[in-house]
Symmetry: C2
Subunit: 217 residues, 2 copies
DNA sequence: GCACAATCGAGAATTTTTTCTTTATTAAAA
DNA sequence: TTTTAATAAAGAAAAAATTCTCGATTGTGC
C-alpha cells in the first residue's frame, strides 16, 4: 500500500496507471492544439519516453478504441480521459489555510484547471481574511461550517500549518467533506469512510535525491 | 515505468518504498519529540495504517536492525533514514520562476527542511527581481549562468509557466544542473543523463477524484 | 485488388512489489 | 532460571504491474 492515503481498491485502473493518465491528457491537449487529429501509441510513447504497449494498456481503461495504422482520435481520447478522471465535472472544493502554499493554489485557479475548482478559502489570520486571491475571497474560518451545509462541498484542500491539521481535518469532516487533499505533513486520523489524499513534496525530493546519488557513482 | 521522470533502476530500494520513507521519517521525528526512545514496526504500522511487515521491509533498506520485543531505536532510525535519503546533506538548489508556486517554495525554506536547500531564485519579471522571499533574493535570470559555475549547484527547481519550461530547463542543463524538479506540466526533452523529477498536482487530483467517485457507488 | 507495413488488442510471460509464513531472538513474567 | 509472548528478519508465496508476443485489422502503395 502507498501512503498517498487510505487504501481502497479500484476495480478499474491500477493506481500507477491512474497517475499516468493526467500526463497523457496534458500531452494530448498540447498536440490537439497543434492540430493533430489522430495519434498512435508509439508516437505518444516516444514523446513521453515510455513503453508503447503500456500506453495502449493505460488508455484502454477509458474504453476508447484505437485503429491500427491510425491510432486514437485525439479529441475522442481527451474527452474520454476527462470523463474517466472526472476532470470535466466541477468538483467544487474548499481550501483551508491561505498561506504561502494555499495562496499559490488559489491563484492557480484562474490560469488552468487542476481538476478541482476552489470556490472558497478559509483562514484564521485577520490580516488575510477579507482579501482576495485570484478570484476567491478568503473568509473567516468559522464561516466554513455554515457555508459547507449550504453548498454541499465534498472536497477539502488542507494547507494549514502541520500542528493544526488534525483539528481542521476533523472540522472538515464535520462539515460533510468526504475527501481531503492534504498538503501538510500531518498524519491524519479520520473515520475510514473519509478519503485522504496525501501530497507530500518530500516524497518527490526523496526520489530525486536518490536518483541523483545513484547516477553519481 | 512511472512518469515521475526518466527511468533509472535503484539497486537498493524499490520506488514505492522510497516514497514511503519520508513519511516514516516525519512520523519518527514526531514521536522522538514526544520522548519515545524505541518504536516497533507494529506500532508504526498502526499509526500509519499500513502493514507492519511492510514497515520492517521498508526500514531494512537503511541497514538499521531492530530488536525483537523492543523495536527500533528512534534516534538511530531517524539518522539512518536521513542518511539514506540524503536529507542530512545540504543539497543546494536553484529555483527558476519566483511566481505563485515558486514563492511558496522559497518561503517554505525558513520553516522546515524539504530535503533540499534553495540558495538562489531567478526570474525575468522586473517587479520581482531584487525582492526577497523568505531569506532568498530573487535575481535576474541571466545571473544564473554566472552563479551556477561558481557555486556548482546540481539541482534546479522549475516553477516557470509551462511554455518557457523547455527553454529554461535547457539553460539549467547548460549551467551544469544534473537534476530538475519540474513543477510545470511541460514534458521536458533533455539529455538522458539529466534526471527529471516531475511533480504534477493533477496526478494527486486524479487519484483523489477516482477514489471519491468509487466510494460513492 | 493484393501484398505490405504499422499498430492495436488480448493474453502470456516476466518483473516488481506486497503479503504471508517461519524461524530466531529478546525482554519480561513466572 | 525457565517459560512465555512479542517481534524482527529472511525467505516463500501471492498479487500487481510491466513488458513481451502474436494474431487481427487497417491504411498505403504497387
Ligand atoms: N509552502 C510550501 O511550499 C509548502 C511545501 C510543502 C508542504 N507545505 C505544507 O503546507 C502547509 C502550509 O504551508 P505554508 O507554507 O503555506 O504555511 P503558511 O504558514 O504560509 O500558511 C498557513 C496558513 O494557515 C493559516 N492557519 C493557521 N491555523 C489555522 C487554523 N486553525 N485554521 C485555518 N487556517 C489556519 C495561517 O493563518 C496561514 O495563513 C504546511 O503543512 C507545510 O508543511 C508547504
Ligand atoms: N500555482 C500553483 O498552485 C501551481 C500548482 C501546480 C502547478 N503549477 C505549475 O507551476 C508553474 C508555475 O505556476 P505559478 O502559478 O507559480 O505561475 P506564475 O505565473 O505565478 O509564476 C511563474 C513565474 O515565472 C516567471 N517567468 C516567466 N518566464 C520566465 C523565464 N523565461 N525565466 C524565468 N522566469 C520566468 C514569471 O515572471 C513568474 O514570476 C506552472 O507551470 C504551473 O502549471 C502551479
Amino acid at each position: 500500500m502507498s501512503f498517498s492515503g487510505k487504501l481502497r481498491k479500484h476495480k478499474n485502473a491500477p493506481e500507477p496507471t491512474l497517475r499516468r493518465l493526467p500526463v497523457y491528457l496534458y500531452f494530448l491537449e498540447k498536440v490537439r492544439e497543434e492540430g493533430t487529429i489522430n495519434i498512435s501509441a508509439p508516437v505518444i510513447g516516444k514523446n513521453l519516453k515510455c513503453d508503447p504497449t503500456q500506453v495502449v494498456k493505460d488508455l484502454s481503461v477509458t474504453g476508447i478504441k484505437g485503429k491500427p495504422r491510425v491510432g486514437y482520435n485525439t479529441y475522442e481520447l481527451i474527452h474520454a480521459l476527462e470523463e474517466y478522471l472526472g476532470f470535466n465535472r466541477t468538483n467544487e472544493a474548499f481550501l483551508v489555510g491561505a498561506g504561502n502554499l494555499g495562496s499559490a493554489l488559489l491563484a492557480y485557479q484562474d490560469n488552468q484547471s487542476l481538476g478541482i475548482k476552489l470556490i472558497a478559502a478559509f483562514d484564521v489570520d485577520t490580516e488575510i481574511i477579507g482579501t482576495s486571491i485570484g478570484s476567491i475571497h478568503v473568509l473567516e474560518y468559522n464561516k466554513m461550517f455554515h457555508l459547507a451545509n449550504r453548498l454541499n462541498v465534498e472536497i477539502g484542500v488542507l494547507t494549514t500549518p502541520n500542528h493544526v491539521a488534525q483539528k481542521v481535518a476533523e472540522d472538515m469532516v464535520n462539515c460533510g467533506i468526504k475527501a481531503i487533499w492534504n498538503f501538510t505533513s500531518a498524519i491524519l486520523d479520520l473515520p475510514d469512510n473519509i478519503i485522504v489524499q496525501n501530497t507530500s513534496l518530500s516524497t518527490s525530493v526523496a526520489v530525486l535525491l536518490r536518483r541523483l546519488n545513484d547516477s553519481e557513482k
